[in-house]
Symmetry: C2
Subunit: 190 residues, 2 copies
DNA sequence: ATAACCTGCGACATCAATGATGCAACTATC
DNA sequence: GATAGTTGCATCATTGATGTCGCAGGTTAT
């Protein structure tokens, strides 16, 4: 039993290495071949096919993995029981940490996997509830369409996650500040 | 000469039809085949190959076309000679009109074509000069990193352009409002 | 009617990516 | 040292996308 566990652990380590390499390669070039992914992972192409029956299976595994990490990131912030502003910041930090390393896989989850899509839809709902609570608490403007606010939030997270070498805390602070106050001094067109 | 002009006009109409179809198809599925693009354009696959020597050539033509429209959109707003706030709004409206229909091709231009990349870099420079002027005019906060402000602006344009069926004027007004004032009521973390 | 031009269709060659398989070699466990 | 599990390598078949060509038919202007 000990041997089995050790050996399976080896295989799982390989799987993880491949997933990381796939994220790195596919984020730069979504049409990259299995060969290129294998090379980036430092393994033979046949090994990739041994671990993932097909290209779709590999992509699905990436979506599943990233979605799990995504859900964990949101849960860890306890957005339902924490004051809205704190929760917003905490969710942002946690999600950014994941998305900086799994940006491609997270975007993938929206379309590819049906189970992953369900989780994303669930999180979207929780996000909207958080925004609704923030609105009631007077943190968010009442004259802003909640759906638009959420889209802006997602867009900012996507943009911030492109900064690969930056500190997640600093990114999150700047992101939330921009989301709430914008980049202007106050005057507007309306 | 008259006949030649009429016939060439036919060919150019076909080219334009193919470009539009390619934008529609590739924006949904970037790995779609020439066959699918031809089908969407209502022409035979061989006709596509007659007009565009290769897939890369088609993609480059899309990038070139979208880049031209993009530059026109920016120029039409005269961002150098118009008051910053007005220019910001006008540029936003014009660019949104183009980007709603050519989102895929415009993203493409950043990497594919070297000439298109040059135009994009040029426009990015003009955008940063506009932001600098806005900052001096007191429209933009002085404590916000200009590069970050530009990235936020681009991200918002990208997000707003996803609303396919909306009015560009309304989108632009909401976009600029959000960019300048954010979605919050005033209090922040810092 | 004629000529120029364009298109659709069918056929063909090519090529790269995918996926499967057998075998030898390596490593860790017992 | 024997064993089980894993990997690398070489190899092969398959498939789908790409690109080319020739021909027949249709349109438009002269």
């Amino acid at each position: 039993m000990t041997s089995t566990r050790a050996l399976r652990s080896d295989a799982e380590r390989t799987v993880h290495t491949i997933l990381e390499a796939a994220e790195r390669v596919l984020s730069r070039n979504p049409t990259a071949s299995m060969e290129q992914i294998a090379e980036a992972a430092g393994v033979a192409r046949t090994t990739v096919h041994r671990r993932f029956a097909s290209r779709d299976a590999l992509v699905a595994a990436m979506a599943s993995w990233a979605t799990r990490r995504f859900a964990e990131a949101v849960n860890a912030a306890h957005p339902e029981t924490t004051p809205p502003l704190i929760a917003l910041y905490q969710v942002t930090v946690n999600v950014l940490r994941v998305k900086i390393d799994w940006s491609f896989a997270m975007n993938l989850a929206l379309t590819a996997d049906r189970e992953a899509a369900h989780v994303h839809a669930d999180i979207e709902g929780r996000c909207e509830r958080l925004f609704a609570k923030a609105r009631e608490a007077g943190v968010l403007r009442a004259d802003v369409d909640p759906a638009w606010a959420r889209r802006v939030y997602y867009a900012l997270i996507h943009e911030a996650a492109q900064s690969r070498d930056a500190d997640a805390d600093a990114l999150a602070a700047r992101l939330v500040d921009t989301l709430l106050r914008g980049v202007g001094t106050g005057q507007s067109l309306t």
